[in-house]
Amino acid sequence: MTSNESGACKGWLIPGLLAVGGLVLGAPLVAQIERQHGAHVHGQANATLSQDGPRYTLELTIPGANLVGFEHPPRDEPEYTRIDETLEWFAEHPWLVLDDRGDCRVDGVSADATGYGRPGEDKPDGAHEHSSEPDHDHDRHDHDHHDHAEFRILARVECADPDRLRWMEVDLFRDFPGNEKVRIDSFTDRGQKQFRLTPDNRRIDLTR
């Protein structure tokens, strides 16, 4: 969805909105919101789980700090290696455990790190050009000027009998103690739900 049209609204407003509306109308019409930032909470990962027929898609967005401990562009070889190893871990490690009943298998995992300013890296959505500037210093928590570094992991699951699948487990708390919580919004045949996983509760109970 892109547009060059003005998104600001003018015209009538219902009375309850009038006070706020007055401020909007008084300001010059701005075509685009250039200063907006998504929330990014260290220690917490966000995920979405969707089901379309036999296919489940789990997408995790994990702050870089949770997995590798830093979110600045890698400064030396060990830091590059740490990012690469983490990406490999997701591709190779069986971190997504499935209930046997659904006759499911993990049908491919892709892992991606964004915001680290590594060569050839995809820019995260809405990233600014200068997020890869060399003088970029995360320790100053210069939140106005860069997007956070994140890992995005996409796992696809194919099930022969998706209705019988009762649970999934996301097991990355042991290997990544910096990742304390995973919030999962799910939308499956069984409706829209939200799960909060912690080291003590790693299970997505799909029947709930």
Partner: protein, 420 residues
């Protein structure tokens, strides 16, 4: 003579204090059951309402807030979103259907929703049920209105009736009326048990037309348009309150949600209503827990009341016990008698409490339906609740061990000897 009939007869002998004890326990049980049942019923009822909409898009706000004002008519929108945004969203490839709507007017306390005719075809509730017209049809002309089941029933409306809408959602008496634009009812919806029943529906164009000349919040003299003039005008809305969205696939829900939340043109929030609802329950969860704890404490107080009664009658019943002992009852049987008494009292309290809870639930149901459009059934407790009630019965019997122990220790001589 076995112990149970003996216990019952003894209780009948003291029916006055027994009745009070049972009533005390019953009230405490009813409270516990009600708190739990109503919470479950409200949760289910809310979930039924949102189950047919994949995504709701509004101006940037908290997901819970957006859910509450867009679906349940609780609270108000802080901002509207522009019509251009609706048009772009509607043409996004993941979108199967998009129904925009504008809120802000009311009719005798019921909210008026300006929307498109598609609303009646697309909106789903309670596991995919569509809206059905009990009478008439959707709005077609500019000044036609469709009313929900409860609105028609409570206000005695029929199709063909003319009504006047009020500006804003405030108290009905002080409200300014859109008197120059009377509406005709063209359709009445079947009951749904959702807030749809409490709403009136007009077209977005009508919503705009009745507000021409109201830009300052009150009607400007001479700025309004005549109904016939309005029909000639271009009434494309500038903005809407929110949009219900249906999607082509579930995976698309999250893609689109992300795209909407990161939309550059306008600050928007997209929610999955079911997920937002769970966030709401997480917020109210603390209060619900507190209510449950309070009602559990009330149950404990009820049981302690029973203990007090049992203990205070111990003295009166010395002679009764002594006679039983003299007739050959063993101390264990006397103690058992007291435990059985307590069990009978607690059980009677639980049964009476369940009945009371059902009666109260039935009494509260119409109020919940009227105020919030929630159907709260008078269902029986679930299995786990019976488990809890079983535990309470056990607790009542354990408490009775105190007087039972006292009775056990007292000898036959205790009741017979004459004290000086």
């Amino acid at each position: 003579m076995t112990l149970v009939p003996l216990a019952l007869r003894s209780l009948r002998n003291r029916w006055y204090s027994v009745l009070l004890t049972v009533v005390t326990i019953a009230i405490s049980i009813a409270l516990l059951v009600l708190v739990d049942r109503v919470r479950n019923e409200v949760h289910e009822s809310f979930y039924r309402t949102v189950s047919g909409v994949d995504l709701i898009v509004g101006a940037r706000t908290s997901p819970v807030q957006l859910l509450l004002y867009s679906v349940f008519g609780i609270g108000d929108a802080t901002n509207n979103l522009s019509w251009e945004t609706y048009q772009e969203l509607e043409s996004a490839r993941q979108v199967d259907w998009a129904v925009p709507f504008a809120l802000g007017d009311s009719h005798r306390g019921y909210r008026v929703m300006g929307t498109t005719g598609e609303f009646f075809d697309r909106f789903r509730y309670s596991a995919g049920q569509p809206l059905v017209f009990a009478d008439g049809r959707a709005f077609d002309d500019l000044f036609e209105v469709v009313v929900g089941h409860r609105v028609a029933r409570n206000l005695g409306y029929e199709t063909g009736d003319g009504i006047i809408l009020a500006h804003g959602t405030g108290s009905t008496r002080l409200q300014q009326q859109h008197e120059d634009h009377p509406f005709t009812i063209t359709g009445i919806l079947e009951p749904t048990g959702t807030p749809v029943d409490q709403s009136l529906y007009i077209s977005l164009q009508a919503h705009k037309a009745i507000h021409i000349g109201w830009e300052t919040g009150t009607p400007r003299i001479g700025a309004q348009v005549e109904p016939d003039e309005a029909r000639e005008m271009d009434l494309e809305p500038d903005s809407v309150t929110a949009i219900y969205v249906g999607l082509t696939s579930r995976a698309a829900a999250f893609q689109l949600q992300r795209a909407v939340n990161e939309y550059r043109e306008e600050a928007l929030t997209a929610i999955l209503p079911g997920v937002a609802l769970q966030e709401l329950w997480r917020i109210t969860g603390v209060a619900e827990q507190a209510l449950l704890i309070v009602s559990a404490i009330v149950v404990a107080a009820g049981l302690l009341g029973m203990l007090t009664v049992l203990l205070s009658t111990m003295n009166e019943r010395r002679r009764e016990m002594a006679i039983l002992r003299a007739l050959g009852a063993r101390p264990g049987q006397i103690a058992g008698l007291l435990v059985i008494e307590a069990a009978v009292l607690t059980l009677a309290g639980i049964v009476a409490g369940l009945v009371l809870a059902l009666v109260l639930q039935a009494a509260a149901a119409p109020v919940l339906l009227d105020r919030f459009g929630l159907i709260v059934g008078t269902s029986l407790p679930e299995l786990y609740q019976f488990g809890i009630l079983g535990l309470i019965l056990a607790a009542g019997m354990i408490i009775a061990l105190v007087p039972a122990g006292m009775a056990y220790r007292r000898t036959v001589a205790d009741g017979m000897q004459v004290r000086s």
